[in-house]
Symmetry: C2
Subunit: 191 residues, 2 copies
């Protein structure tokens, strides 16, 4: 039973990465998973329900892989970038498909904001309690931009550089955003 | 004549920002511009041709506004971010619509890569000739991520922070990417 659910999710991830949300049908997922389409509806309610379950599973993997057991060292940025690339370099098409969907689907965008960002904020606050929201938003902006350049737009040399090189280039940015003093927030009438 | 072409482009930008590429019809653009739909085809060939003309015009504005007369000062990053926000803060919906389309349209993505990136590289090379491609790709990754967080995903506090505050936070990242020494490139077998 749990294995059937897992097979459906794996087939869905595979087909979604290949064809995107619109072009993927429950029927073709059912065929690849070797189950009846009615079983997918039984487990997930709808294609959209299946898709959100898939995102949630991937998000859990990313959160565990990215944020699990991160020491607040001075190389935290390099470490986060290296982990992010280790998670997604082998799954570039899935990243691109997920990102495209998040761009045009408000409920997925909202899931990313509330879950991914909230967890980042919680972790940042644990090591550096001042302005955790601001730090997490900045770190996420650089991680997203890096991933879009590397996986979606294919901007060279970022797209094919060794992960170590990308981590060395981009890591210090995340370290600064997460741990270093930031400029004082603007005050109304100030600056 | 030139003014008719301009009216069509302005109407197209307005409707495209409101409804996205798919939902915008030549007919409704023609209505807003007060012209016959056949005239749009005469000038632009197709809805896609009109869209690419719109992107090219916006790209020229962005390049001129962003890169025109940038002194290679130590605050170059703050200046670039401030100019980027001055260009797009008033046009958030258009940015989001353009970015969404670029994510799923390879020919638009390719236009951004070749035009925007090539120009960035040319400018970076003019002030700092080593590794202009690498520096430009990194700078673009942070600018894009910042814009996606602020305009598309609405990640707070990045989405509603004062432009001056965002420039102070993100600017130093661009300055480092564009002007500061970067780690030596990874060599095969090295590191």
């Amino acid at each position: 039973m749990g294995d059937t659910r897992g097979s459906i999710l794996r087939a869905a991830i595979h087909q979604f990465a290949e064809s995107g949300l619109q072009q993927t049908s429950l029927r073709s997922i059912a065929r690849e998973a070797g189950v009846d389409p009615a079983l997918i509806l039984h487990y997930f309610g709808s294609k959209r329900g299946l898709f959100l379950a898939l995102v949630r599973q991937k998000l859990d993997e990313v959160l565990a892989g990215l944020l699990g057991d991160v020491p607040p060292t001075k190389d935290i940025g390099d470490l986060l970038v290296a982990r992010f690339l280790a998670l997604w370099d082998g799954d570039r098409r899935l990243f691109a498909a997920l990102f495209r969907t998040a761009m045009s689907d408000e409920s997925l965008a909202s899931l990313l904001r509330t879950e991914l960002l909230a967890e980042l904020v919680r972790r940042v606050a644990a090591t550096h309690s001042t302005e955790a929201e601001r730090r997490a938003a900045l770190a996420l902006s650089q991680l997203m931009g890096m991933a879009v350049g590397r996986y979606v737009l294919g901007i060279e040399p970022l797209a094919s550089a060794d992960p170590e090189e990308v981590a060395a280039d981009v890591g210090p940015t995340l370290t600064r955003y997460l741990l270093r003093p930031l400029p004082p927030p603007a005050r109304p009438g100030g600056r």
